[in-house]
């Protein structure tokens, strides 16, 4: 499988809406519950085409999660549409008690995750969802890199019998995976081989790591890129192998450096393969409303920041 940055731009939310419509058509168990954000998350594709499968729950996330749990207990597969910032925080106790503890098959689609939320600022930027959801027993946590992986991960999540949190993003982003990609929950993907440093990333930061690897190659530095779409269960073997091969690790995520991918990699390597690590991510602070490029630059998430972190380990 060749993973490469293409000219094709796809917003994960568009892939989400389209795939949801397919799932509704293929699987009679699937229903969409919306927290009054369907025209942002693109769950409105289902509302318009299949209103019989779309249940508006209003601006009341705690109740929405409970309703989903009740439906799942009766054999249905509810997909929840809301922003990551609300879905993770507003109803966290409900997710814990009626979804994760009874291990019910509720699918949580956290739209507009990370810093790039369309100029809405810190209240709407969710940069700790991976940390929070990863620490919840029974929860599967997935952060796709592009539109293709979003589509495949949703299909895997729908087929999986248990709760899944999907971290999705708002804006168009380069497609890197081919359509024949065999996505598997819990499996990392070696995007690029290398020997000097391992760039381990999740979500859309994988594209920026690929760009950083190209920059580093021009400087004579051989960078391995490992994409980790599933934060839980974590592909520990792939992470340990990357560290053993290179002896230096940079992690990259549009998320706080506490408890997300950087935290998870540090936990694994600390126990299994102590390695020098640099975590590229949001440095324990809240964001602000601004243009995407300005946010990436100010909060240290560009490919240049990844490359600089790699150089600092050489």
């Amino acid at each position: 499988m060749k993973v490469q940055i293409t000219d094709r731009l796809v917003a994960q939310r568009d892939a989400f809406g389209e795939t949801l419509l397919e799932l509704v058509a293929e699987d009679e168990r699937v229903y969409v519950l919306d927290g009054d954000l369907a025209n942002s998350t693109k769950a409105d594709m289902v509302a318009l085409e299949r209103p019989d499968r779309f249940l508006q729950m209003g601006i009341a996330e705690q109740n929405m999660v409970g309703v989903a749990a009740g439906m799942a207990s009766c054999g249905l597969v509810p997909w929840l549409s809301s922003f990551a910032c609300f879905l993770v925080n507003r109803d966290l106790d409900q997710l814990r008690v009626v979804v994760a503890q009874p291990n019910l098959s509720v699918k949580l689609a956290g739209a507009y995750s990370g810093l790039l939320t369309g100029k809405t600022g810190k209240t709407h930027q969710e940069v700790a969802d991976l940390a929070v959801m990863r620490s919840m027993p029974n929860m599967v946590v997935i952060a796709p890199a592009d539109g293709v992986e979003t589509r495949l991960a949703m299909r895997a999540a729908n087929a999986y019998d248990g709760p899944v949190y999907m971290r999705l993003t708002r804006d168009p982003h380069p497609v890197i995976f081919p359509e024949d990609y065999d996505f598997e929950i819990g499996k990392g993907v070696a995007v690029r081989e290398g020997t000097d440093v391992a760039l381990i990333s999740t979500g859309e930061q994988t594209v920026r790591c690929m760009e950083a690897a190209t920059t580093l190659a021009a400087e004579g530095v051989s960078a391995l890129v490992l994409h980790v779409p599933t934060l839980k269960p974590l592909d520990e073997a792939a992470i340990v192998a990357a560290a053993e091969k290179t002896g230096r690790v940079v992690t990259a995520e549009d998320h706080t450096i506490i408890g997300g991918l950087g935290g998870a990699v540090a936990e694994v390597l600390g126990e299994r393969c102590p390695t020098r690590i640099k975590r590229v991510g949001i440095a324990d602070c809240f964001g602000e409303s601004a243009a995407n490029d300005d946010l990436l630059e100010k909060y240290g998430l560009t490919s240049d920041h990844v490359a600089a972190a790699a150089r600092s380990l050489l």
């Binding site: 229903y31 249940l55 729950m57 209003g58 009341a60 705690q62 109740n63 929405m64 999660v65 409970g66 309703v67 989903a68 749990a69 009740g70 439906m71 799942a72 207990s73 009766c74 054999g75 249905l76 509810p78 106790d93 409900q94 814990r96 008690v97 009626v98 503890q101 009874p102 291990n103």
Partner: protein, 291 residues
């Protein structure tokens, strides 16, 4: 409509069952040295009515897709539910001795992941009605005729989620969903009156639940939650709703049946001593004799 008269004999049977449930509740909490008493005792008559008279269930088939669903939103009253489930044949009565012990299926708060017969996990208050909406919606979407019952507390419904759920249930016209409010007038510690916190006197957790629920679009039925004729009649009437969710507002007494526990918030969650247990057993035996 909704009229369902209990025979003299059936009324006596239900009373007998409720006395037995109260005995199991007090003995189990005494044995475990932990657990709640006031709430399970106030809910005992409602639980007995639902499981022995109202709900369409089969203890041999706890996962049957067409069964009525029950959610104990006030999950801390778990021992009340466990006692009634055991009496109904879901598991041996002997198992009540494992309540709250390591590896037990009878967790402090109901855990559907380990005990068949529980339709939802609860314990964090205010969360029961929402899954009830999900179950009632699922019945409509799948064309099933089962009814969903949610037993709530008045303290339980101080949580905001309850009112999110109340709004949504009415908007979806869920006539196949019935809530029962165990309106016992006390919570764990409560709100002081002018006499302060040094007395037993407390403000009620909820005032005017009838007005509140009606304002949210629910049909309300007010009853004495310790009168089997009224409970059974209200539940029967609730099942006949045509597109409006119903709440049965059942006036109850916290600690009902054990005189020294009644209306005393201190018995919310206090294990009885050996002497307390003896007095309770004696009192319940007296009630049994008087049937």
């Amino acid at each position: 409509m909704g009229k369902r008269d209990l025979t003299e004999e059936r009324r006596r049977e239900l009373r007998q069952l409720a006395i037995e449930a109260r005995r199991l509740i007090v003995e189990s909490v005494h044995h475990a040295g932990a657990g709640h008493l006031g709430g399970p005792l106030s809910a005992a008559d409602i639980l007995v009515s639902l499981y022995f008279e109202i709900m369409n269930i089969d203890p041999q088939k706890p996962g049957d897709s067409d069964r009525d669903r029950f959610i104990l939103s006030k999950g801390h009253s778990s021992i009340g539910l466990y006692s009634v489930l055991a009496m109904r044949g879901y598991f041996p009565i002997e198992e009540l001795k494992t309540f709250d012990a390591i590896d037990s299926r009878l967790q402090g708060h109901p855990d559907m992941a380990v005990l068949p017969g529980l339709d939802m996990s609860t314990g964090s208050l205010g969360q029961g009605l929402s899954p009830g909406i999900g179950m009632a919606l699922a019945a409509q979407l799948k064309g099933q005729s089962y009814h969903t019952w949610v037993l709530m507390g008045d303290g339980d419904s101080q949580e905001g989620q309850v009112w999110e759920a109340a709004f949504v249930a009415a908007r979806y016209g869920l006539g196949n969903l019935t809530a029962v409010l165990d309106w016992n007038g006390l919570q764990q510690y409560g709100w002081a009156t002018e006499s302060g916190y040094g007395t037993l006197e407390r403000m009620p957790p909820q005032e005017n639940p009838v007005g509140r629920w009606q304002a949210f679009g629910w049909r309300t039925l007010e009853i004495d939650g310790h009168d089997f004729d009224q409970i059974v009649e209200a539940c029967t009437e609730a099942k006949e709703s045509d597109g409006t969710p119903t709440i049965i507002i059942a006036r109850t007494v916290k600690g009902k049946g054990i005189s020294y526990m009644e209306n005393d918030y201190n018995w919310h969650a206090q294990p009885p001593t050996d002497e307390d247990l003896r007095l309770a057993q004696e009192e319940l035996a007296g009630q049994e004799k008087a049937l």
